[in-house]
């Protein structure tokens, strides 16, 4: 009996101790996922009706607002907005514009370098930064009728309904 007891106790102890680290690791992983929510850039200037749409929630854009992948930049009739992205590229939009930051990854150490934006409508001006410099096919602007691959650095895009 004694030998059985001694062989059981350590097992139970092991179970107890193993659960705590597992829980801790779990909590840490969740915490890190929150903290690592990749930052794509921030709002540098705003005028008129300018909004950020995130997970279908629309909020008025303010200077210093953080931008993330999948955010949508939206402006109304007299709106405009300028943003700076993490790779030091610079982007601005005029009125009646809708632009989706559909992909943004800037991790030079892991060679993750890409920025893809979809322009649904409106006007956009973009000046490339480090992503385009380090990965020549890393930056792309998609519109309903075209895709812009970029080797240059500074350009303007206008998307409009052909009826207008």
């Amino acid at each position: 009996m004694e030998t059985e007891n001694t062989s059981f106790e350590p097992k139970l102890e092991f179970m107890k101790f193993s659960l705590i680290p597992i829980c801790l690791v779990f909590i840490l992983v969740i915490g890190m996922a929150e903290a690592n929510e990749p930052r794509a850039g921030f709002v540098k200037n705003v005028s008129g009706q300018a909004f950020i749409e995130r997970n279908k929630v629309v909020t008025a854009a303010k200077v210093k607002d953080m931008l993330r992948e999948n955010d949508i930049l939206v402006t109304g009739n007299n709106g405009a907005m300028g943003v700076i992205l993490q790779d030091n590229s610079v982007m601005s939009i005029g009125s009646n514009t809708r632009l989706v930051i559909s992909k943004f990854a800037f991790e030079p150490a892991n060679e993750k370098l890409s920025f893809i934006a979809q322009i649904k409508k409106g006007t956009v001006v973009y000046l490339t930064g480090l992503i385009a410099k380090l990965n020549h096919s890393g930056v792309r602007f998609e519109t309903p009728a075209a895709t812009c691959g970029i080797r240059g650095t500074h350009f303007a895009i206008k998307v409009e309904d052909s009826g207008n």
Binding site: A80, G82, V90, V125, G129, A145, A146, C148, H154, F155
Partner: protein, 206 residues
Amino acid sequence: MKNKPLLRIRNIILPLVFFLLLISGCASTTQVVLLPDPDGKVGTLEVSNVKGTQTLNQAWQATVSASMDRIPSEPKLLEEEKVRQVFREALEAEPIPPVSFIIYFRTDRSALSTESLTLLTKVMDAILSRKSTDIIISGHTDAVGAIDYNHRLSLRRAKAVADILIARGIDRQNIQVTYHGKGNPLVPTPDGRPEPRNRRVEITVR
């Protein structure tokens, strides 16, 4: 009975009209214009859709893609004034690009030289012209010395720069100070080798 043929035409026309509306509703045109860089240089821009690619390589040159089933139009030179008019709002909202500065230090020192103090005047100008609320100051050392010591030295260097900017009126909350010790050299060297270019503080103003 006489009405029947008319109805038949309607039956064809209505879906047709609807179909045409649907097509025109979906169609949108994309105009892309190559702008000169802030320093005056001009890059190259490729604009493509499934049918083909156009390359722009002159400032104010533009191409139009009307739909995915037609190749983008031949590049055409536009008048600068017209482009500025069409993109006026976006161009006015365009932030000044971020700029970086490097300040160098003597071995094992965190005090700034007279030239460095002069450079900080340019840093101040960059901050004020951008109304910057995002200033990143990172301290670095060369590969001489212990890891812990270099971490502290690189932090002292970064703080020395931050303190001067704060003393000149910059809001502390707009400054992020980071330190890298010898972990992030500008010029990689074997451990233990002195390298003046790595004894530095980098300042990025965004």
